[in-house]
Amino acid sequence: MNALEVNGITKRYANHLALDQVSISVPERSIYGLLGPNGAGKTTLIRIINQIINSDSGEIILFGERLKPDHIGVIGYLPEERGLYKKLKVGEQLIYLARLKGLSHHDAVVKIKLWLEKFEIKDWWHKKVEDLSKGMAQKVQFISTVMHEPRLIILDEPFSGFDPVNAQLITEEILQLRQRGSTIIFSTHRMETVEDLCDHIALINKSKRILEGTKKAVKAQYKTNTYSVLHRGAFQSLESQYELLKQEKAEDDYFQSLIQMKSAASPNQLIQDLTRITEVHSFVEKVPTMSEIFITLVKGETHE
């Protein structure tokens, strides 16, 4: 089952179209990367899923049900613009936020204590947020997002503001949450996050969803059948079904070549053909990084 299905969502503001017939499907227990340049409409989509604003048309199905007010307790949302009540103490603050999500006072206290213990910050309970450092406040904010055990967690740029140690801590928590059955949506520009964590992605550009699928499928779709070969002894030309894109001298008489296969030949065939003209030392398929795909697609759109 899909945790979330967004079907043909359109949202128009006074002078521009923020979302144009956007559909995405987020499988349960996946880590789903929602990508796109600034102003593409990601935040609008997330706000619609969180019922902060309404869409003009289209429907949203959450765990098999049409989106309804009760669903806010099922979702945990970490907005890109972080914020807490500065004058409130950490404990009070978290209890308040948990109760707004529908937890009873007792449940809220129990769960918050558990999380504070986990992050080894139990003694922060009586500290005011304004006395915390930015990184500390981020931890509190993360707890506020996940403390009610949401089945769907939406994180907008979750790692901004975290040092590498804390980023690692949060990453582990996210993976554990998935292990326990949560579905996670990342909205991010940081392609290494996507590369490391996401198993599904969607790319939104200029209010439209222009790409969706598993990370593997997307990469397969955008691979260019290009291979990077380290070989001893130069060669000038190849058979017509291959194209030599680049050949650089490495060291001694070693060379690094970039070869693209034009037809649907197999890599084995290429190796065979190469061994006849040179001595192959390494042979790697050049798979596009998410960053490259992102740039290609977004730039391509812009150039149209």
């Binding site: 503001y13 006074a14 706000r47 969180n50 019922q51 902060i52 604003i53 309404n54 003009d56 007010p69 806010i72 979702i75 949302y77 907005p79 613009e81 972080r82 914020g83 807490l84 009540y85 500065k86 004058k87 409130l88 308040y96 936020l97 109760r99 707004l100 999500k101 904010q141 506020s144």
Partner: protein, 434 residues
């Protein structure tokens, strides 16, 4: 509904737990009488110690009879030109030139001064002439002074209001004036102070960005209403504490000084009352009127108008707070909110209290935006039931309308950052769909 209640609680606790709340609640009822007492004291001292200003005068008419109650008049012998020159070099307050004139037509009297004289200064001098000329005319008409004295009678009209049940209540309109003024000023302050707090709170939520987390859990409308109602409960609590404080203080003072004390206390605090007391029969009537005022009626209508007016304006303050990024930016939108408040506030002093049953007074007390303050000015004098009912109904309706209006701006405004907001942008937000 449940969530609004959570927000109300949170807002209430946030404010009440602050030390500033405690300080304001306890000190304010003490500070105001203290300030008033100091002002009255200073005014009296000033009058006592004031050195009289010197006014030179050139009297060509011989009708001027210097009265030294306020000025020291010193004659100048010479022409007007010489007088002006002498005056310019002196430290004197003024030069009064009195040309020859007919008693029937006093013309050409001129006061030369270096600074603009106050209206009271001028009318004081005018009165000197008027009374002396009157005396002279009397003599001219052969009216004897003793005859004149016999003509003087002092009349005190006692006002008795007959209520619908046929009960007679004596009243003193000066006391009612004071009650109306106090009620109106209090209402004005309450609405402004608490309205500004709503705005402040919303701007803080917006600036700290916490608002997006909150509206992912509750509807923007719930957040707005929770905030408005939470602060309303703080205001009511504060008001109730004041009532308890003031009434227990009064009782305590009463116990300390015996029964006459309340009137003495009033005398120190209220110059209006002082005047009333000075009149021989007045003092009894003053006390009488205070006792006759249906306090429960006045206080409970104050509460209604406070809640109604506060909600009405609170919603507007909320809309302004949601639209801007900083308190400084809010100024431009405060103007239209302040105008009806100021109209009723100044109306209170200029005509509502003077003529509480006049057409304009009545309408101001019925129109929702001005009614909270205007009605407070009128309430002590007795307001026909239908006017009160209509006014209350319209206030309730007005509050629903402003809340609806504010909510439409609020839901968009709180999520907008760094936008240059103008009235046309607000209109766009207002029209925007969900």
């Amino acid at each position: 509904m449940n969530k609004i209640w959570l927000i109300v609680q949170r807002e209430f606790l946030n404010r009440v737990q602050k030390k500033s709340f405690l300080v304001a609640t306890i000190l304010l009822p003490l500070i105001f009488p203290a300030i008033m007492a100091v002002l009255v004291y200073v005014a009296i001292e000033q009058k006592k110690n004031a050195t009289k200003e010197v006014v030179l005068y050139i009297d060509e008419s011989s009708y001027f009879k210097p009265d030294t109650a306020k000025f020291l008049f010193s004659p100048f012998n010479g022409s007007l030109e010489d007088g002006k020159r002498a005056f310019e070099q002196s430290e004197d307050f003024g030069l009064l030139y009195i040309p020859k004139f007919e008693l029937s037509e006093p013309k050409g009297i001129t006061l030369y001064t270096k600074i603009n004289p106050s209206p009271t200064d001028i009318s004081d001098i005018e009165k000197i002439f008027e009374s002396h000329i009157r005396d002279l005319k009397m003599v001219e008409l052969n009216v004897d002074q003793s005859l004149l004295d016999k003509l003087k009678t002092n009349v005190n009209v006692a006002t008795v209001k007959i209520s619908e049940g046929g009960q007679e209540k004596s009243s003193d309109s000066k006391v009612l004036f004071g009650v109306g003024m106090a009620g109106g000023i209090l209402m004005y302050m309450f609405i402004f102070i608490y309205g500004a707090q709503i705005m402040q709170g919303i701007i803080e939520e917006k600036m700290s960005k916490v608002v997006e987390v909150i509206v992912s859990s509750v509807r923007p409308f719930q957040l707005m209403m929770g905030k408005i109602l939470g602060l309303a409960s703080v205001g009511l609590l504060q008001f109730l504490i004041w009532i308890v404080l003031i009434s227990s203080l009064t009782t305590a003072v009463l116990g300390l000084f015996g029964l006459q004390s309340p009137s003495q206390e009033m005398m120190q605090m209220n110059p209006q009352a002082q005047q009333v007391m000075a009149e021989s029969q007045g003092s009894l009537q003053f006390l009488n009127t205070l006792n006759q005022i249906p306090w429960t009626y006045v206080v409970s209508s104050f509460l209604f108008y406070f809640i109604g007016g506060y909600l009405l304006y609170g919603a507007l303050f909320a809309a302004v707070g949601s639209a801007v990024d900083s308190p400084a930016e809010a100024q431009q939108f405060m103007f239209p909110i302040t105008i009806p408040m100021l109209i009723s506030y100044f109306g209170l002093f200029t005509f509502i209290l003077e003529d509480p049953h006049g057409t304009v007074s009545v309408w101001l007390s019925i129109i929702p935006l001005t009614s909270p303050i205007a009605m407070m000015g009128r309430i002590g004098f007795g307001v026909p039931d239908w006017q009160l009912a209509l006014s209350m109904l319209l206030l309730a309706g007005g509050f629903i309308l402003t809340t609806w209006f504010a909510a439409r701006i609020y839901r968009v405004g709180i999520l907008m950052h760094g936008t240059k907001v103008s009235y046309s942008v607000l209109a766009k937000w207002f029209m925007q769909k969900g």
